[in-house]
C-alpha cells in the first residue's frame, strides 16, 4: 500500500515549520517519526497534500532536567524515553510506559510528540501524561504557550493544537517517590491497548484510562472513592463510571468496562494506593 501523492518539504527549524504550516494551511501535516501518520496515509484514512518533515530538528530530540520538571523534546523516540536514566529516576511511570508502546522497531522510530499530537485515546503515553499532570509546550506564530494535559486532548484524534502550531516539548513533573503502575491489556504483545489503566500515588492517587472513550480519561470516580476512604477493590469497582468505551473487533463496551475495573484494581495495588 502506497500513500496518495503529496508534496514533501523539510523544515529546517521550529520557526520554519510554523511558517510552512502557515503557508500550506490545513492541507499540511507534520511528519515526525511517521508511525501514527504513515499507516493512516497508506490506508488513505489521511491524505494530506503537503508533508512537513520535522524529523531532523535535533533540538527537539532530547531529555533534560528542568527544575521540578523533566522536559522531553517532542521528537524523542520512545526507546530513548524508555532507557533515559533521568526519567527512570525522576518519572519512572513515563519511561516504563514508553517501553510498552508497540514493539522495538516502533519504539526506535515513533516519537512522544507524534503520539501525543496524534491524540489517539488508545495510545499509552497520553493517559500517563494526563495522570501525572504533564504540560505540553506548543510553538506557533504568536510564540510559545503551555497547555496542561487536562486541556490538551479534545476529541477523537483531536487536540488543542491549532493548524499552525507545533508541539515542541512535553514537560513531566518529577515524581521520584511516587507509587505507580501502568497496566496494559492486549492480545498480542505489540498491539494497542484494548484497555489500559495507570495509577500514580503521590499523596493522593491519580488514575487514568486508555481506550475507554474518545480521549484519554481520568477515572475521577475512582479517585473520589479513594479520597473518601474506600478500599482499593471498592474504588476500582467504579472505574467505568463516566467512561464511553468503544466497541470493536477486540471487545464490546461491556467487556472494556470489565477490563477497566480489573486493570484499575491491579494498578492501584501495584502503585500501593
Amino acid at each position: 500500500m502506497i500513500p496518495a501523492s503529496f508534496e514533501y518539504v523539510r523544515a529546517e527549524s521550529v520557526d520554519h515549520a510554523v511558517s510552512l504550516l502557515q503557508e500550506h494551511g490545513e492541507e499540511a501535516k507534520l511528519l515526525a517519526g511517521g508511525h501514527s501518520l504513515l499507516p493512516l496515509m497508506k490506508l488513505r484514512l489521511a491524505q494530506p497534500g503537503v508533508l512537513i518533515d520535522i524529523g531532523r530538528l535535533g533540538d527537539l530530540a532530547n531529555i533534560r532536567d528542568d527544575g521540578d520538571m523533566v522536559s522531553i523534546g517532542a521528537l524523542t523516540h520512545h526507546a530513548q524515553i524508555e532507557h533515559s536514566p533521568l526519567l527512570r529516576q525522576e518519572c519512572p511511570v513515563v519511561s516504563h510506559t514508553a517501553g510498552q508502546v508497540g514493539d522495538l522497531q516502533v519504539r526506535h522510530r515513533g516519537t512522544i510528540g507524534g503520539s501525543v499530537a496524534h491524540g489517539d485515546s488508545a495510545s499509552d503515553l497520553p493517559t500517563v501524561l494526563l495522570a501525572v499532570d504533564a504540560v505540553m509546550v506548543a510553538h506557533g506564530p504568536e510564540g510559545t504557550r503551555e497547555i496542561p494535559a487536562s486541556d490538551f486532548f479534545t476529541g477523537f484524534w483531536e487536540t488543542a493544537l491549532t493548524d499552525v502550531e507545533l508541539l515542541t516539548t512535553i514537560k513531566v513533573p518529577k515524581l521520584p517517590n511516587a507509587g505507580w503502575s501502568y497496566q496494559k491489556f492486549n492480545r498480542r504483545a505489540q498491539d494497542w491497548a484494548i484497555v489500559g489503566a495507570v495509577a500514580v500515588k503521590n499523596g493522593t492517587t491519580r488514575v487514568g484510562l486508555t481506550n475507554m472513550g474518545s480521549i484519554p480519561l481520568r477515572a475521577t470516580a475512582v479517585e473520589a472513592a479513594l479520597q473518601a476512604g474506600a478500599s482499593l477493590s471498592d474504588a476500582a469497582a467504579v472505574a467505568a463510571e463516566g467512561t464511553n468505551a468503544p466497541a470493536d473487533v477486540n471487545g464490546s463496551a461491556a467487556y472494556r468496562e470489565h477490563l477497566a475495573r480489573v486493570l484499575v484494581r491491579r494498578a492501584l495495588e501495584e502503585a500501593g494506593s
Partner: protein
C-alpha cells in the same frame, strides 16, 4: 487541490554503498530497497507495520521499512539482510539460525534476523524472556518461535 509533486533527490548508503536517486516522496523505504535497488531480501509481509518482515537497520537500529518513507532515509545508512555477512562468513545471528534451524518457510527470516541484530546490539546477553519480548514486533507463522529464540541465544553466546 492539485498537488505539485516534485521528486526528491536522496543520498542513502545501503550496505556500505552510496546511492543517489530521485524518488517520489510517497515511495516507501521497502519499495525503494526492493524495486529501485533490487535488494529483495527484505520482505513485504503485512504492509501495516505489524509483522516485521520488512525490518532493516536505519542508522544502526531496527525499523519497519514499510512505515518509513525513502525521503526520511536521506543521508542515512541502511543495512539489509544482504549487507550482514562478511564475505562468505555469516553474521553470528545468521549462523545461529543455521545452527538452531531457526526457520521453516523462511519468509519472516530476514526481518527476524535484522530485529535480532538490533536487539543484541542493545542487549548483548539477553535472557530468553528478553529475546521473546525483543522480537515481539516480528511474526512467524511456522515455527512457534522456539528455534528462533534458540538461534538468537546461540548468536549471543557466539558473538
Amino acid at each position: 487541490m492539485a498537488i505539485a509533486v516534485v521528486n526528491r533527490r536522496i543520498e542513502v548508503t545501503v550496505n556500505g554503498k552510496a546511492h543517489v536517486d530521485e524518488v517520489e516522496p510517497r515511495t516507501l523505504l521497502i519499495q525503494y530497497l526492493r524495486e529501485k535497488l533490487d535488494l529483495t531480501g527484505s520482505h513485504v509481509g503485512c504492509d501495516t507495520s505489524n509483522c516485521g518482515a520488512c525490518t532493516v537497520l536505519l542508522d544502526g537500529v531496527s525499523v519497519k521499512s514499510c512505515t518509513v518513507l525513502a525521503v526520511q532515509a536521506d543521508e542515512c545508512a541502511v543495512t539489509t539482510i544482504e549487507g550482514l555477512a562478511d564475505g562468505d562468513t555469516f553474521h553470528p545471528v545468521q549462523q545461529g539460525f543455521v545452527e538452531k534451524h531457526g526457520l521453516q518457510c523462511g519468509y519472516c527470516t530476514p526481518g527476524m534476523i535484522m530485529a535480532a541484530v538490533s536487539l543484541l546490539d542493545e542487549n548483548p546477553h539477553p535472557t530468553e524472556q528478553e529475546i521473546r519480548e525483543g522480537i515481539e514486533g516480528n511474526l512467524c507463522r511456522c515455527t512457534g518461535y522456539k528455534n528462533i529464540v534458540d538461534a538468537i541465544q546461540w548468536a549471543a553466546e557466539n558473538s
